[in-house]
């Protein structure tokens, strides 16, 4: 394992920046290009890169398989739950107007929650599929 020293150190240097970029894409999606889909895939890409260089066991320590597989339905539930919250507060399904006192802030909050749901489902699905493929090989 000594031969891939450059790969290991390079990956260690890159990982925090990949995660930071994913978070930037997620939370800056209101202003620049990006959103839940892109951020989710980049997050999953970080875990996959970690698994490629340091092994799947190490990756499963930072992103446990059970957690990753629970994230798949969790994101959809957050998304649909945001819609139901609107329904509860007296507006239409997926209408975020009543989530805050002023309608525009409610919409901002709703978009944030929905994008979070997308992030969780996409990151979870991509990582879970990767784990499933890797587990077949052993």
């Amino acid at each position: 394992m000594k031969l891939d020293l450059i790969l290991r150190i390079g990956t260690k240097l890159l990982l925090p920046f990949i995660l930071l970029f994913a978070l930037y894409v997620q939370f800056h999606g209101d202003f620049g290009p990006g959103g839940g889909f892109q951020a989710g895939v980049i997050t999953a890409g970080m875990v996959i890169l970690y698994a490629l260089i340091f092994g799947v066991k190490a990756a499963k320590r930072i992103a446990p398989q059970g957690l990753v597989e629970r994230m798949v339905p969790l994101g959809v539930l957050i998304y649909a739950g945001t819609g139901i919250a609107g329904l509860w507060l007296g507006s239409n399904y997926l209408d975020y107007s009543r989530l805050a006192r002023d309608a525009p802030y409610g919409h901002e909050l709703g978009i944030f929650a929905v994008e979070l749901g997308v992030l969780i489902t996409v990151a979870g699905t991509m990582t879970a599929i990767f784990y499933a493929f890797v587990d077949r090989g052993r």
Binding site: V25, G29, D30, F31, G32, P33, G34, G35, F37, Q38, V41, I42, A44, G45, I48, L52, E69, V72, P73, G75, V76, Y79, A80, G83, L94, Y96, A103, P104, Y105, H107, E108, G110, I111, V114, E115, G117, V118, T121, V122, G124, T125, M126, A128, I129, F130, A132, F133, V134, D135, R136, G137
Partner: protein, 189 residues
């Protein structure tokens, strides 16, 4: 300049497609498909669709390349030539391609401002996005708010696809020989 970049990118795409067609080594095919995705991402950047380019680069070139390599680890990497004649698949491919090209003839010219799609709800979204949602990026406000149902559907599609793949890949393994993990799965389920 943009036309030159487009010509170079599209030519390279065509070259790589031909390369994939004639390549029998599946490892090379996977690598070529990754290069194809990166070129496609560049094309999408030229088209000013940075969101889609990001997705194409990370899903097409990143995740799916890794998953395909993982598949190659399980199967042989040489594609055996088919015994049947390639005539019918070729005819189907050519007919489909011709139908698609024929379909583009009916589209309005590329990039014109008075296309029908720019006159329906798009002006309203562009004008009201900041006022109604405080989100300056209209792509985000359209996807997550004005067209929230569609994105909910897309997220559900990803959920369904993920669950489907997990069921296929893990269900088969349960019948295999890893007994101790099987009992664990059985208990939690």
């Amino acid at each position: 300049m943009e036309a030159l970049i487009n010509i170079v990118l599209l030519t390279l795409l065509a070259v790589i497609t031909v390369g994939i067609m004639f390549q029998r080594n599946l490892f090379a095919v996977v690598v070529l498909a990754g290069i194809y995705s990166f070129l496609m991402a560049s094309v999408l950047i030229v088209l000013d669709a940075v969101d889609v380019a990001m997705t194409e680069a990370s899903v097409g070139a990143g995740v799916s390349t890794v998953v395909l390599l993982g598949t190659l680890h399980l199967v042989r990497t040489i594609e055996y030539p088919s015994k049947r004649s390639a005539l019918i698949p070729m005819l189907v491919a050519v007919a489909t391609g011709a139908a698609l090209v024929w379909g583009t003839i009916g589209l309005s010219p590329f990039g014109t401002a008075d296309n029908a799609i720019h006159k329906h709800v798009a002006p309203k979204y562009l004008a009201d996005s900041v006022k109604e949602t405080l989100v300056p990026n209209v792509v985000t406000s359209t996807l997550a708010d004005y067209r929230g149902y569609d994105t909910l559907g897309e997220t559900t599609v990803i959920f369904t696809a993920g669950i489907g793949v997990l069921l296929l890949l893990k269900g088969r393994r349960r019948r295999g020989h890893i007994a101790d993990e099987d009992s664990k799965v059985g208990r939690t389920a």
